[in-house]
């Protein structure tokens, strides 16, 4: 086993844990070889730090320090704690697929009565017995990003969802990540959603902690491929524990005339990074990405989006809002690349940050990289405090300072939240925002 490349202490501790974990990692042959290659890539780079441009604002060596060992398989007590957490955060009308400490939990999931054309497997199954094409697809994320490489090396479980051509799912799917371990540990998960042609689906991802979950790390990734003329609505809600870290990656590719609408809200986790690459592979497609960071305490949340316009006639819209209180730190890095020949691209990005405290920090890096001339691209970024005159207006009408602030903050994040198409999910996001505001007191 060739992991002798490790340079720092953190890395060498990890290479031991990789060696220890190996027996628990599903897949042999090509899968095992791909894991080794991914781990070697990670070991070479180590945890990203601020000297690496992409991680300038999120120095994991300082924020996370180390990658924790793989979480042990959950026992009965942990499953039951997870079950009550799942109940607490249950969403009506969705099909729930639950991962507890990085392991698929069939008992907590709803697998019966699948709609026609919907196939759900676990990642473990796919890596152990899946066909070679599927296994190759599961390893498509680029090892150049160390955290993606680490995830590729260590992924233990997840869900693999296939939606057949022409099938439009009526029931949203929800992948719930629950941390239940009382000993600090890391979970490594990867999920895949393949949407055929002329298909449609709604996917919700939630990250929650069961009672007593301790300082855990979530390392997750999601691969999405959207077929021609298909539509996917995606909502991501991060309500991890305050002492947890969540490093998640998304790799999305769209066929022709496809539509991808995604919304993400980060209000949980002490340290979080969501990095997504959205690539247009077919003409005439459209992407709307919307994000909200609601942060306080000492939270650090980083949203890094990479919109890859590789083909002509595609539109993308990005709206991002950050509300930052106390000593929290919000990071938004949005990169739009328009490759040569991707003419008639229409790409817009707007990021706004609201600072509620003098110790809060918001860093925005909206990037445009344009290699084609017949395009309309633009981005905007603003940072500021709540408008004094608006606050005064509301105070003069009898609202308390907190109420007035809450109202303005709601309006501020509203624009991003309203992009959620599914009524139930939108209400859910609004409720989550409300909870955050109420918790401010």
């Amino acid at each position: 086993m060739n992991v002798a490349l490790v340079k720092n202490e953190t890395g060498s501790a990890l290479s031991d844990s990789f060696a220890i974990a190996r027996d628990r990692l599903p897949g042999t042959g090509k899968v095992a070889a791909a894991r080794e290659a991914a781990f070697a890539a990670y070991a070479q780079a180590g945890l990203p730090h601020r000297r690496i441009e992409d991680w300038k604002y999120t120095d994991l060596r300082a924020l996370m320090r180390e990658v924790l060992p793989l979480a042990p398989a959950p026992d009965t007590a942990e499953f039951s704690r997870a079950a009550s957490a799942a109940k607490l955060h249950a969403i009506d009308g969705v099909r729930r697929l639950v991962l507890v400490d990085g392991v698929f939990a069939p008992k907590l999931s709803e697998l019966g009565g699948l709609e026609k054309g919907l196939v759900i497997r676990t990642l473990r199954e796919a890596l152990e017995t899946g066909d070679a094409a599927l296994q190759a697809l599961l390893f498509t994320p680029d090892n150049a990003n160390p955290m993606v490489a680490l995830n590729s090396a260590m992924m233990t479980d997840g869900v693999v969802i296939d939606v057949a051509d022409g099938v439009v799912l009526t029931q949203p799917l929800q992948i719930v990540h629950i941390a239940s371990g009382t000993v600090p540990a890391a979970m490594f998960t990867r999920s895949l959603l393949r949407l055929g042609k002329d298909a449609g689906a709604t996917l919700v991802e939630s990250y929650i902690a069961a009672e007593g979950a301790k300082a855990y790390q979530v390392h997750d990734s999601l691969i999405i491929s959207i077929g021609n003329n298909s539509r996917l609505d995606h909502v991501r809600l991060n309500e991890d524990g305050r002492d947890a870290s969540n490093i998640s990656s998304g790799v999305v590719s769209l066929g022709a005339h496809a539509h991808f609408n995604t919304f993400g809200m980060m209000s949980g986790a002490g340290v979080s990074r969501y990095q997504a690459t959205i690539a247009f592979a077919g003409e005439g497609s459209r992407v709307e990405t919307n994000g909200v960071n609601l942060l306080n305490g000492k939270q650090h949340a980083d949203t890094t989006l990479f919109m890859d316009h590789a083909v002509p006639h595609c539109d993308s819209r990005e709206i991002f809002r950050a509300v930052v209180d106390d000593r929290a730190h919000s990071v938004f890095q949005g990169r739009i690349i328009v490759r040569p020949h991707a003419q008639k691209t229409d790409a817009k990005m707007m990021t706004r940050a609201l600072l509620l405290s003098d110790d809060a920090e918001a860093d925005n890096k909206p990037e445009l990289e344009i290699f084609a001339d017949d395009v309309t691209c633009g981005h905007g970024a603003t940072t500021g405090a709540l408008d004094e005159s608006l606050l005064f207006y509301l105070r003069a009408r009898g609202l308390s300072e907190k109420e007035a602030q809450a109202l303005l903050i709601q309006a501020f994040v509203g624009e991003a939240i309203e992009s959620i198409v599914n009524d139930g999910l939108r209400e859910l996001a609004i409720a989550a925002a409300q909870r955050w505001l109420e918790a401010r007191g």
Binding site: E53, P340, H341, Q343, A353, L355, L356, S357, D358, D359, A360, E361, A362, D363, N364, K365, P366, E367, L368, E369, I370, F371, A372, D373, D374, V375, T376, C377, G378, H379, G380, A381, T382, T383, G384, A385
Partner: protein, 493 residues
């Protein structure tokens, strides 16, 4: 419209490969041996008759430079520079002591004549005949590395303004140089600035005493002449309390095949209530249509608004150089200080531009404004890279940034990389950027009314950059407009 017509006429005469300023003056040079070592640093220092402290300062920088590595983050590609294969010093051999302009080597004067640079006060700019009684410009001409003539010294002296080559200032005003040199761009700042600190040959030094409004625009024309000579200019401008100075810098270089390295450092300091306006027109040789040759321009420019209510304004028109790596910045240290950055960056052919600014808000109620216009044509790459940051104590910091890019042709690239960092809740930052091409409708409209395609593009581009051109002193605005059209020659049709 007269100016536009003039531009169009000029463009018509010129081919993309016929770099107008591509001629070479053969004057005997006094060169340091090729390569860089402590001996080279000592040689330069000795040539300049520098005091010991200055040599020590240079050597320290050189030793630090040895430990540094070339920055890689900019979006520019160039073959590795062999720093041992360059000449670090070249000066025209003094034939005799210069008493007046008439005694200057006629070859050199001719070079300037060809460039259209006025050493005589009447010919401020080629083609512009200035009537009597208008504002005057003092020119500190830098020919390769040594300032060969300084005009208007007398008038400036009366006002108390010190405007001289920095090598002289080191000897004559060591207290000022010691106090300010390296305080804005420290010797350890970055790879190229450190290299410059070790081997800088000459540059301008300006000191404006308290309460003085400099009676004329100060101007310097840089010109890289000697083959294979890296030029390392060092400019230091200090505006003392309540003073004002406007400084113009313009550059042209003759055509060459080898790439030439230019790593200048410019430091500006404004004390309470002072203002510096620094304008640059840069049209160095950009390389030929195959991308061969051209200047590497790695410049560190930074202004420090040290005093309260002070202001620094950078205006730049970048049309030349094969590679530009340049970020004129403002450190807004004093309360209520203001920084401005107006830029036109044009890239054509195989040029690569990575330029922008940094606005660092440290003091209270500091404001900054960034207007950047990037135009990419041919197969060039044009990047705006800018940082706006407000530190924790920068209460009431304000910034407005607008960077627009125009693409001409489908083989070029225009990129925007802004960093917006706010660490204070009362900071208010706005940033907007757009990228587009010249609308077909607009071109059609112009062409239909009898303009050629190229004239139409020139018209649209001049409109696109108007916001920035307006910031230039009049003398420069005319030249800049010509340059813009020349730079875009060959980009359409």
């Amino acid at each position: 419209m007269a100016a536009v017509q003039e531009t169009v006429d000029r463009v018509r005469q010129i081919d993309v490969d016929q770099y107008r300023y591509g001629f070479e003056t053969l004057i005997e040079s006094d060169k340091a041996p090729k390569g860089l070592s402590e001996d080279t640093v000592r040689f330069i220092s000795a040539k300049k008759n520098e005091p010991a402290w200055m040599l020590e300062w240079r050597l320290e920088a050189y030793r630090r430079w040895l430990t540094m590595t070339e920055p890689q983050w900019a979006r520019v590609n160039y073959p590795k520079i062999d720093y041992q294969d360059l000449y670090y010093y070249s000066a025209p051999k003094p034939k005799k002591t210069i008493g007046s302009l008439d005694e200057i080597d006629p070859d050199i004067l001719k070079t300037y004549e060809k460039l259209g640079i006025p050493l005589r006060e009447v010919e401020v700019l080629e083609g512009v005949v200035r009537p009597e009684g208008q504002r005057k410009i003092a020119v500190d001409a830098v020919f390769d590395s040594v300032s060969v003539a300084t005009t208007f010294q007398k008038e400036l002296k009366q006002a108390g303004v010190i405007f001289m080559p920095i090598s002289e200032a080191i000897r004559e005003h060591p207290e000022l140089v010691k106090k300010y040199l390296g305080t804005v761009v420290p010797t350890s700042d970055n790879y190229f600035a450190t290299l410059n600190s070790a081997v800088f040959s000459d540059g301008s030094f300006v000191y404006v005493p308290p309460g003085v409004r400099c009676p004329m625009e100060l101007s310097t024309y840089f010109r890289i002449n000697e083959r294979n000579t890296g030029q390392f200019e060092r400019t230091l401008i200090i505006a003392d309390k309540g003073s004002y100075v406007s400084y113009l810098e313009g550059c042209t270089a003759p055509q060459r095949d080898e790439n030439q390295l230019h790593a200048a450092v410019v430091e500006l300091v404004t004390l309470d209530d002072a203002e510096i306006k620094y304008s640059t027109v840069q049209n160095w040789y950009p390389g030929n249509s195959e991308g061969k040759g051209g200047i590497y321009n790695f410049v560190t420019k930074r202004g420090d608004c040290r005093g309260n209510n002070s202001k620094i304004s950078w205006t730049q028109v970048e049309t030349g150089s094969a590679i530009t790596w340049k970020y004129p910045s403002c450190i807004l240290r004093g309360d209520n200080s203001r920084g401005e950055f107006y830029s036109i960056a044009i890239s054509n052919g195989h040029q690569q531009v990575d330029s922008g600014t940094k606005m660092i808000h440290l003091g209270k109620n500091t404001t900054s404004r960034i207007i950047s216009k990037g135009i990419a044509a041919g197969v060039s790459q044009n990047t705006y890279r800018g940082l706006v940051t407000a530190h924790r104590k920068a209460t009431g910091a304000r910034n407005f940034t607008a960077c627009d890019s125009l693409l001409i042709g489908d083989k070029c690239g225009a990129h925007t990389v802004p960093y917006v960092e706010a660490k204070n809740s009362s900071a208010l930052f706005e940033h907007e950027a757009t990228t587009s091409k010249i609308s077909e409708d607009v071109l059609f409209y112009c062409v239909q009314r009898g303009l050629s395609q190229e004239e139409a593009v020139g018209l649209v581009v001049n409109g696109f950059v108007k916001d920035v051109l307006q910031q230039l002193p009049m003398e420069f605005a005319v030249e800049a407009q010509k340059l813009i059209s020349i730079s875009l020659e060959g980009s359409v049709g």
